[in-house]
Symmetry: C3
Subunit: 277 residues, 3 copies
């Protein structure tokens, strides 16, 4: 696919999510769970969040795609996440992993290691998280690092490209790295998407909700297109929202408005470049 | 009561909530807990959320009304919900049940079955949830169904009228069914309230927060009036908010503004019709 | 320090938080956790929320300051809070305690009693909470009371001044009492900060997020200045937001915008008076 064909697929993904309203449940952190759900609704999906093992399994079996975000782990996650991941694998459901906070605490490390066997379809994170996960799984990351600082990245997007490619190849899916200039890769192609706003860094859950919306598009398209559609949506709608916003408070709300109203053409037409093909 | 008398009672409920600031705690899901609290505050109530069994019991004993929402169950709910419901029953406190996600997972089914003995004063839900609860409790629902799709309804409001009437009669209280054209019933009378906005379906927690606000009005009026006041408030304030909003992000904020500033007369005067009397 | 010197320190705290982006994790309630994080980001800090014991310890050891809020306790808090507080003490990290809901439930009382040994650097609360905590710790509070009504205060700020001074002296730190006219004290000096808006009482988490932002400034200044900078920020930015807002919905968003954009000079110049020195 060249960029023109990719744009056409992105456009179809935006339209299909709006038309089919895929059911995309999440197990996600309590900090940003509301924004994840609202962003999924704004993109056209249906959100449903759970904590209990049999609920993860049950809704995992009937969903169109799933989102797992590793922030604010609770004790019950020790059982819920592995059982949900196995159900998703058994039912061949696409799912997105967001390895938030990698490196912090024992349970997070155990669970992330287990996902090496029940691999996600897409991994989304900041540069430090992507580098950390590639290292945790023993893949070639180019750098030896375990994670970031709290939930912040201490690495540049470009420095995470080798890790992102290794991860994407390993999972036979796609990886999106968020930062000043986001990239998406399927292990071979590396596509950069431009736009967005510095205000995303001042709204908690920008990344988490991008993960949730990635899962919405993963429900209606192949991994690379799903990841890229979400990143393009955030960059295009975020840029427009920032033009109206006076700060992070209004930005978050205008962003949801823009995501809900932007045309599929404008998401597909967001500035991109093929870095490697 | 004819519609004119009902409107007068609705007006009094809006005023009394604003004047007396009733304490209306909740046990509710983590996705929309913030909007539930903010909507309760905007309507004039005082919000307080808990998870632990003795906290549910303790604040249940001193509150004016209570709200229980079945979304995002945690393991501790297995003990907290029954103990809280028994405390509410023992202290004759009105409470509102929102059977979100009925049909998903083992614990939710067990807990909802137990509420058949410690009945709520008002049940609020979408059509599929109301039909599901009537069936779970072995009441005449007109249709055999266990729930919806995730948290979404797959049934129309009108198809849930028999289930709503059965439930309301059984609990000797009221039932509100949310959807395109909401209805409220006490088992005999069925009143339809018009207005609102399609944007409510794009804001997570529209229904949950309506449940929380229903509990605020249940603290200051009889069940049918409490349920109807909340539905009218949402329809009237929601319609106004939608006229200003550019999408779901700004809609949520304008809606809280409108709920806080709308006159009691305008809530009472919201378009309604008596479907059955 | 006279008020002029204090203003200069406040100005420096605002600037330093923006320049250094301190890592300020929280263990806080699920109702307002999103607003806490967004307010911390708007003030220049980095937020990270945790629930598990080893995560509290781990991030407590590497953070610049920490925020503990006692709302919506979960079972795991029985272990997480003491272990986190001990880690903060061992690593000499400043931390802010918000004794939300004091008086409700057994676990909250046990945990708050334990904090008498691993004392916070700053306590922030409404008048009833401050009076309740001073009594729980056996300090001279001037009044015998255990708490408020739900999460609301039933006491005036001025009636809590003796309790606030006792607490501040005991912890060798600072205490901030929120209400119509906030005060901050280090046990000797009592400073009143004016401004804000009645709309803060209609937005859930105004107090919680003030606690989180207090921790951000505690990371970059001494306790009295940290507490006062946060209170001044809320009063100055809140007053501006209220001039634009049409109700509590838009107020919350404008407030975050104002916090992000207000000058350090304007925060430092917020109306204050020295009540006792």
């Amino acid at each position: 696919m060249d960029l023109e064909e990719i744009r056409n697929e992105v456009k179809k993904a935006v339209e299909k999510a709006r038309e089919t309203c895929p059911l995309v449940p999440s197990i996600t952190n309590t900090v940003t769970i509301n924004l994840v759900a609202n962003a999924q609704l704004a993109s056209g999906g249906s959100a449903a969040m759970v904590y209990l093992p049999d609920e993860g399994e049950g809704i995992g079996a009937i969903c169109q795609a799933f989102y797992i975000n590793m922030g604010t782990l609770l004790p019950v996650y020790a059982e819920t996440l592995p059982r949900t991941a196995r159900a998703l694998q058994a039912h061949h459901k696409p799912w997105v992993l967001d390895p938030v906070g990698i490196g912090l605490g024992g349970l997070r490390t155990v669970l992330l290691k287990e996902f090496r066997e029940t691999t996600p379809t897409i991994v989304r994170g900041n540069a430090s998280e992507i580098i950390g996960l590639a290292n945790l799984w023993g893949l070639d990351a180019g750098i030896k690092k375990e994670g970031g600082r709290g939930v912040d990245s201490v690495d540049t997007v470009d420095s995470a490209i080798p890790a992102a490619k290794s991860l994407a190849s390993f999972i036979h899916g796609a990886v999106a790295v968020s930062g000043e200039k986001d990239i998406v890769t399927d292990g071979n192609r590396v596509i950069r998407s431009f736009g967005g706003s510095i205000l995303f860094t001042k709204v908690t859950g920008s990344g988490c909700s991008l993960g949730g919306v990635t899962a919405v598009y993963a429900a209606v398209s192949e991994p690379l297109i799903g990841a890229l559609t979400a990143v393009n949506m955030y960059n295009a709608a975020g840029k427009r929202a920032a033009e109206k916003a006076k700060g992070p408070g209004t930005f978050e709300k205008y962003f949801l408005d823009e995501m809900y109203t932007i045309s599929a053409e404008d998401v597909a037409g967001n500035p991109m470049e093929m870095v490697e093909e």
